[in-house]
Every structure is written in structure tokens, then in C-alpha cells.
Symmetry: C2
Subunit: 192 residues, 2 copies
């Protein structure tokens, strides 16, 4: 998606350690026009996939999931990151996710009522790097007995293992801005 | 907003202790049509207010802020809840918020770059009860030297102190579903 790639070139910042900051327009402060267009593009890509529900994870997945859900006309659910181990008494699907940023595991939770065996789930997130969050969300869909239509991410770092691992599992992965390589001075996208 | 009030009557659940659960359609699983209409209604209410930026707080404020931002065509920013006291080196506005659910204080953070003195800020959140989060967000806007256009909340519990305290401060508060009273069997809205 050229619009997102150009915006990353213009307003993104590459920090040491392979960190790409897009907080000025995509995941802390969010440009409403870009958000609308990203939702439209995910909706176009997965139009024929029979999606009945969108699944994402707090906090930065919620904005792209919102716009995609509005464009597709299907509900979305966001997984919460557990603050403690005393999960509420409600029937929950849970999965363990490794945090790249914080270097430790956390549990993610989705109330079981919100994903049904006849659902076809589209997973939406802002970033795909190691794929830990995506794999946690796939496990949640599998616990529910639901089908996974695929994963849509705004930005994928193709040089980190997540993208390849998911493709090898036979999962459809669509990245609006697939990054082939990145250094302190430049970002190279896979589709240019 | 009749559509939201009817939905709360139909699919909301009142739990002991004055807890209203709207997680099936508003803040864990989100109905995309309702979300779109709530954004439209906030945009209509604050159309003449000169809003340049929307400010909310993770996680459940992000969806209504997304749809409102898309309808108004202005960016939104979400405050993060600090996981620890080692706030990043970036220039941040911070405020202390008391959590009704967890019974302890936490810090909220917004990068200073994202709210400017010439901004006119609309605060959006899902719930207004004691008003702790709203007052924290107002403090953040004040630290930035920005103007506050008002607060838009999906649901306000008028029988808890937040709504009155904000009005007494001279803040404009718009609630799509203002709840006058609530017991285990029924919800009474202020505008009926």
C-alpha cells in the first residue's frame, strides 16, 4: 500500500536495534485518513475470504481492527493482556505470548462467548516481527474451533522470523507495508 | 442516542456492585455499525467546537476514538497506562489516575510532541463514572497548554460523581447513553 509506505518513509523513524517508530501517525497518534484507507485495503484483500469476525490484541491493534471492521461490516474482538494471573471467572480462551519489547511472557485473554466454532476469523495487528502475538491469536481461534481466514498487518518486518513461520504454517499473511530491509538511514519495501 | 440505549437494554448486563457490562457489543467485542454511528454522533455534537485533536486512553477508548476521528477528520492520540515507573526518555506528559476496577493508582502517558498549545482537544472514552480517567486526560491537555473542547463518553453513570464534577468545572460533557439509575433488573436513562 503505497500511501502507508510513503508515510513510513516521510514520518517513520528507525531507532538502533531495528526498531521502527511509527507513533506519529499509526500507533500512538493516528492519522484518520490513513486509518480509513488501511481498513479499506484490508477489507478489499479479504473480501472473498468469508470473514465473520476480526480478532486483534490491545492496544495498538484496536485502531486498524476498528476501521477494518467498519469497512467489512463484521464485529471485532480484542484480546486483553492479563495484568495478573487471577483471570476472571468467565469462560476464557487464553494463550501465552512473548513480548519483544518487555522480554517476558504474558497471557492474552478472549471471552469464549465471542468466538464460535462457525466463525471465520481475520486477525489484524499493527506490526508483524517475530509473530508472537499473531501466533497467540491463532491459538485462541483454534481453541474456539474457528477457521482462520488469515492475518492482516499494517507493517511486516520480513527479515524477522514471524512472516516466514506463519506462511510455512499455511496461513495467509497480508502486509500493507512489507519491509525487506532496514537500516538507520533507509527502509526498503518488498514490493518496490 | 436511542440506538445505544436500546442496545444496552437488549444486550447489556448489570452485575452486583453497579457494574454495567457492555462487553458483547461495545468494549471487548465491538459492533461495527454501532461504532460507526457513535463516531458520527460525537462528530455531530462537537462539529462547531473547533476540535483539532482527539485524546483517549487505552484500551477501551480506542475504538470510539477511532470512529470519531474518522468522522471528524482529525487525528487522535491515546494515552498509555504505564506498566512501570521507568518512563521512556522521550518528553512525556503524565498524570495519575485512580482505577475503579483495580483499586490502585496508575500513571498515564502521552508523548509531548502529540499535543500542542494551539490544539483544541476532544476527550473520548467509553465510560464516565467517577471521572478519574477523564480528569487525568484533562490534566494532560492542560500540561500541553491546549484548550479542551469537551468530553464525549458513550455511557455516563450520572449517579456517580464524575459527570457532576466535570460539569462543575465548566467542562462540556456529552454522553450518548446517560444513565440516571440502575439496578439488577433495569437501566433508566436520563433522556427518557
Amino acid at each position: 500500500m503505497k500511501e502507508l509506505e510513503e508515510r513510513i518513509r516521510k514520518d517513520g523513524r528507525v531507532l538502533p536495534g531495528g526498531i521502527l517508530k511509527v507513533d506519529a501517525f499509526m500507533n500512538v497518534q493516528i492519522d484518520p485518513v490513513l486509518l480509513d484507507h488501511m481498513g479499506e485495503e484490508f477489507a478489499r484483500l479479504f473480501k472473498e475470504a468469508g470473514v465473520t469476525k476480526i480478532l486483534t490484541i490491545e492496544a495498538s491493534g484496536i485502531a486498524p481492527a476498528s476501521s477494518t471492521a467498519m469497512k467489512m461490516g463484521v464485529p471485532f474482538v480484542f484480546a486483553k493482556k492479563a495484568k495478573s494471573s487471577n483471570v476472571s471467572g468467565e469462560d476464557m480462551y487464553t494463550s501465552k505470548v512473548r513480548s519483544f519489547t518487555y522480554g517476558r511472557d504474558y497471557d492474552i485473554l478472549v471471552p469464549a462467548a465471542f468466538i464460535q466454532p462457525d466463525d471465520c476469523v481475520l486477525i489484524i495487528d499493527d506490526f508483524l516481527a517475530n509473530g508472537f502475538a499473531a501466533r497467540g491469536l491463532i491459538q485462541i481461534a483454534e481453541q474456539a474451533g474457528a477457521q482462520v481466514a488469515g492475518i492482516g498487518v499494517c507493517v511486516a518486518k520480513l527479515f524477522q522470523p514471524g512472516y516466514r513461520l506463519l506462511k510455512d504454517q499455511g496461513i495467509r499473511v497480508e502486509a500493507l507495508a512489507p519491509i525487506q530491509a532496514m537500516d538507520d538511514n533507509s527502509v526498503i519495501f518488498a514490493d518496490e
